[in-house]
Symmetry: C2
């Protein structure tokens, strides 16, 4: 994965580098058009507001995707509080820094159509309502959870918080259907509220719930997804030893949510069965 176009570095004094004092977005860009762009910018602004970081000039940022040219890319955009201050104390008038990086991207199409195997993670996410939901740069917990397995057959890992409630996958949000109703974990205690999650919630009646991961045992269908890879049906959930806890058949039940997600992201739509 090599960078094609990039502002290549940050100074060591930058607070984003020193303390993770900033936010970021990873955006799918197709032929210069950013997918779910308004949702990404909106979350970026929400994160900056939460952290008290002034917004950088958005004009230059808005022009970025158009500069990436043809093909599919992932654009990573970071906004930090910039340099200055004394230790943890921020400067009274921060001058934010922003940087970006773009890499060519090919989604894992087999995951869309064949579904994925996921696993439970041992790592528990800390409960921090004041930082929950935003995509800040303190992501050591996600890294530590993702270190738990290397088997490429396992596509994602499920994370609970220290109270035992289900939160998210290491880099995706989780959705399921139970007794005909769509649900997803409430992210007011931990986790990142994905832009795809937000877009799906405005288009389908998805209820946010606090619940243990056992709830998936009652689910008729489970998905994991994000705004870069799209939506993956889950066909098997393993425990930490690799034993299957639950299995689900891939079927028509998975399609409506996937149709919405892939329409939003410009990905191919699943064939409608019987059509």
């Amino acid at each position: 994965m090599s960078a094609v176009i990039a502002e290549t570095s940050l100074p060591l004094e930058d607070r984003g580098l020193a303390f993770g004092d900033g936010v970021f977005e990873t955006v799918l860009v197709r032929d210069g058009r950013p997918m779910l762009w308004e949702a990404h910018l909106s979350r970026l602004k929400r994160g900056c507001r939460r952290l008290g970081i002034p917004l950088p000039a958005m004009e230059a940022i808005s022009e970025l995707p158009g500069r990436l040219g043809e093909g599919q890319h992932v654009l990573k955009l970071i906004v930090t509080r910039g340099s200055g201050g004394r230790g943890y104390m921020p400067p009274s008038s921060p001058e934010p820094n922003w940087r970006w990086l773009s890499v060519p991207f090919t989604p894992r199409a087999s995951c869309w159509w064949e579904g994925v195997r996921i696993r439970q993670c041992d790592w528990r996410l800390a409960i921090q309502p004041a930082l929950a939901g935003i995509k800040h740069m303190n992501r050591l917990e996600n890294v530590m959870a993702r270190r738990e397995w290397t088997d490429p057959a396992v596509a994602e890992g499920l994370l609970c918080d220290t109270h035992g409630d289900l939160v998210e996958a290491t880099s995706m949000n989780v959705f399921w259907q139970r007794e005909g109703r769509l649900e997803t974990p409430c992210l007011d205690q931990a986790g990142v509220a994905g832009t795809l999650r937000e877009a799906l919630m405005t288009r389908h009646p998805i209820k946010e719930v606090h619940c243990p991961p056992d709830i998936l045992g009652q689910a008729e269908a489970v998905w994991v997804g994000n705004s870069v890879q799209g939506l993956w049906p889950v066909i098997r959930l393993d425990d930490m030893t690799g034993e299957a806890l639950h299995q689900w058949s891939l079927g028509p039940i998975h399609k409506p949510l996937q149709v919405t997600a892939h329409s939003l992201l410009g990905y191919p739509l699943p064939a409608v069965s019987g059509a």
Copy 2:
């Protein structure tokens, strides 16, 4: 505060920059001699082990302080998991990066001899036993807590965790004497275990406790300190509105711990009263 000597930046792909996937140390260096150096290196190694980051070659790092020349400096050393991997997933064989930065430093001597006023912070530290104690680069919580006040008369802010237990100050550890016994918060749930704290604990019988901040109301003496500033007696604790919750008289009771701390850091010793 301008850098005098530095490796000046990190590439945007570095995982330390992207996710805070790394550890750091800030070391007091006097005339090229690093204070509490073994304790700093030991915590750095402990942090790398906890995160699964291979240690960089320590020879070059060991030579750093000697290159800073005369006078007092603070050396900031960071070690990251380097670049590579895919998203949160680290590379199977990480090649760690390390960088450093040095700034001239003058300690706040008046705080040693006149004591300091501190305040309670509204921010609550998340409980995360798997990361507690080490000095990792995910320090947004400390930044957010330090943003709560700007009055230079308030030297530090006290932090509790989401359970309500006292943990630390924003960039210092906390110590107190109660019924003649020295105590400090146990840092197995949150917080950074300072090198000065560690050094004091091997030289004085300091008990680690889990307790609410109200315990300071029963204290005969309170200190905050770290390996860069030394040890500050606390003479007043404010609530978040600036009202005094407790006050303590500066006295001989503060001296033994300060003598040990300042001997270790090469700072002036308090005059022994009556001597």
